[in-house]
């Protein structure tokens, strides 16, 4: 049964790929300035597009301009654009799928139409699989299967070793420190909106941090840069407080919107740091140039700082200014790590195994590309890996 489930999608994809045959038509004319005109269904689109390609002659007098014409349903040629008298291509878009469209090019000399190019036609169709992304689909399927396998292992109670992540182990200490000092915990969820995966991951961690603050009775401040993030943060924190049996401790006013402006937000959060002097600061999400401004101000008020982002350019700043930094994947591992739930830990294990798979692919790719300089078969392996890991 499992084999059938695995093979069936592959068969479907193969069938779909073979079913996709774009209509191609082309022509050639030796006396005309336009030597050839080709029309074909635009690949990998949702339909409604035809790709047109033409070549020009170097031996025929160059016209002043060339007009691209399309044959209407009434049988009348109408212009859809003027183009330069050189080799070129163009995509005619917003067409009806399944209907045949015919094109020609007209050369104009001093405003008078000259020789016509041959006609070319094609039928726009919608594609059911993006051929440039098949490799990515296969890789995503492999990663997903590995992650689901380990989630299942976690559910069955298998002991899964997860390496210690210092920054996450320190979360409880940071909240505890804030409680002892009687100062608030400041949580900064980055400057991007809810359509950013890092902000989503940050909201998930916020839920866990809010559970800790509810448990310890600390005050939690969440200034946000986006109104949607504020709404999500309010709901997340409220649910966490409810879950911990402390709905009375939830303060909606502590989770507020400041501004959408990047440096306006940085100034607002800096102000909160200086005035409120939080004992613990969490900076988890997407950050840009404001990362160091926030982290250095937080450091100046003596807060314990835990930062995390997947932005490679901001990680060095956080490492320099914060006590703990979650680097890239650790940000996404945080929720599972903090919860200790077996099925979430299983997904972490799956993530690590998928990473190991990619490390092996990279090593094979590097070796194949190097050896491929002298040995053909290795070059083919390298080309294959390059193809399946590229996104069209």
């Amino acid at each position: 049964m499992r084999r059938i489930l695995f093979v069936l999608p592959l068969l479907v994809f193969t069938g779909v790929i073979f079913a996709q045959s774009g209509g191609i038509a082309s022509g050639d004319d030796g006396d005309c300035f336009i030597q050839s005109l080709t029309a074909e269904d635009a690949p990998n689109d949702a339909g409604g597009g035809i790709d047109l390609t033409w070549t020009v002659s170097a031996h025929v007098t160059e016209p002043d301009s060339i007009v691209l014409e399309r044959l209407d349903e009434d049988g009348v040629w109408s212009s859809i654009g003027t183009i330069l008298p050189v080799d070129g291509s163009r995509t005619d878009e917003e067409l009806s799928n399944g209907q045949e469209y015919t094109y020609r090019l007209v050369s104009f000399y001093g405003g008078i139409p000259g020789a016509l190019s041959v006609e070319a036609g094609a039928v726009p169709k919608k594609q059911w699989i993006h051929t440039g992304r098949i490799g990515m689909l296969i890789l995503l399927t492999i990663i997903s299967l590995v992650i689901f396998y380990f989630i299942e292992q976690g559910k069955r109670g298998k002991d899964l070793y997860i390496r210690r992540i210092a920054g996450l182990t320190a979360v409880e200490d940071a909240v505890g420190r804030a409680t002892e000092m009687g100062r608030p915990v400041l949580y900064i969820p980055g400057i991007m909106d809810m359509d950013d995966i890092q902000t989503i991951a940050s909201m998930v961690i916020l839920g866990r941090v809010a559970m800790k603050t509810a448990e310890y009775g600390s005050s939690l401040l969440v200034p946000t840069c986006r109104a949607v993030v504020m709404s999500v943060a309010q709901e997340t924190v409220k649910e966490s407080y409810l879950q911990m049996g402390r709905p009375d401790a939830y303060q909606k006013g502590n989770i507020n919107y400041i501004t959408d402006d990047q440096f306006g937000y940085a100034a607002g959060v800096d102000g909160i740091m200086i005035r409120e002097k939080p004992a613990a600061i969490f900076m988890l999400g997407t950050f840009y140039a404001e990362s160091l401004i926030l982290a250095e101000t937080g450091r100046s008020v003596g807060a314990i700082q835990i930062a995390g982002t997947a932005m490679p350019s901001q990680i060095p700043f956080f490492i320099a200014a914060c006590d703990y930094t979650l680097i890239g994947e650790e940000l996404f591992a945080a929720s599972a790590y903090l919860s200790k739930e077996p099925k979430l830990l299983g997904s972490l294990r799956g993530q690590d195994v998928a990473k190991l798979f990619f490390m092996i692919v990279i090593v094979i790719g590097v070796l194949a590309a190097t050896i491929g300089e002298a040995w053909g078969p290795a070059a083919r392996v390298s080309d294959f890996l390059k193809t399946i890991t590229s996104v069209g």
Partner: protein, 205 residues
Amino acid sequence: MRLFVPLTITFVAGIIMILQFFVPATQSMGESLQEWYMIVASFAIFIGAANLLQVHAHRIRFKGRNWKYSPVTIVGFTAMVLTGLIFGIEKGTPFNFLFLEMVAPMSATMFSLLAFFVASAAFRAFRASNWRATLLLISAFVVMLGRVPIGAMIWDRIPLISEWIMQVPNLAGQRAVMIGAAMGMVATSLRMIFGIERSYLGGAD
């Protein structure tokens, strides 16, 4: 029902977004979802503005901690909104004047602070306390030297070494972070789409 509805919405939206990436014929569904998000986000701006006014009005009314800053926020916010609504935002309007003469210089000031923060962070990070910090110090010194004319004047290979550090070890490190993050993104997305991760719903089962 409290869990079923949000989990179903998350599942359907997540599957549509994955599908539209691989199946061009379903791209319009993905585009529609993104348009819906934009509509929701546009309405949320009003919620954000209302929250801003509410929080600061509350602080002024009850003379909360540091309440004296709140009137500044409310006056600034009201001035920008009213001038924009009444006179428009074109060149020469009061809104444009306020933006160019107040908002832009204040943003530039915040950005300029970065130079001082970089200096203080670099001072801490580049202290040669152990062999790794020493390695970082040497690499940073070579990279910075290679980016200014005096580097090439000292030795014409310094810019090349600087470029090598940026393009080989630095880029390899950045790619490693990106690959790891991509794995994390896939795992997080799967956990949320299939309802395995529920802490954003309060961790309820």
